[in-house]
Subunit: 107 residues, 2 copies
């Protein structure tokens, strides 16, 4: 049995981060409040995961002012897209491996 977890990306080892990347893959950009409502999270929880993904350069933050009100939006980077797709592919391999192999009696 191949090591099914070696291609999984530790940075995505959290369902909130999976949710953020999934949301930013299917939306060109989203605000903090958009993501918070979409994933039903607290401010603090979301902020810490956004920071980690930003640090890994998987997402970009754009801070604008609209009618003198701060408007912060997030978007996925090319690196983020590439790494997230690879992570999903590795997850798919793990899932497919479960579906094909029946439990074997060993030892």
């Amino acid at each position: 049995m191949k090591n099914v977890i070696q291609n999984l990306n530790k940075t995505f080892d959290n369902k909130v981060r999976l949710g953020i990347m999934a949301a930013l893959t299917v939306n060109a950009k989203l605000s903090f409040v958009d993501i918070k409502n979409l994933l039903e999270l607290t401010d603090g929880n979301l902020a810490s995961h956004l920071k980690a993904l930003e640090k890994a350069e998987y997402i970009l933050v754009a801070k604008l002012f609209i009618n003198r009100k701060p408007n912060t939006t997030y978007k996925i980077t090319e690196l983020g897209k590439k790494e997230f797709e690879a992570h999903l592919k590795a997850l798919e391999e793990l899932i497919n491996q479960q579906n094909t192999v029946r439990p074997s009696e060993n030892g």
Copy 2:
């Protein structure tokens, strides 16, 4: 966009735990060393995750003595099987949602 992460199980929020559950789904039972080699982990790292999965009653530990030598094996519980399958199904939904929806320009 439905909240794709609500059905993900926090206990499986770690690739090592995904690997352990995957291995114990396709093998009736495995020893500590089996799992350690399969997933290329350190003793300490593996032990902490096995403990958490045992505490959640997703795996069972059997401690035997073979020729007076301790032999500890692990196997998945029915609860573990059920929860892991639900987790994989939620991951599959997240992945499929990525494959179907193209990035939309919004706002």
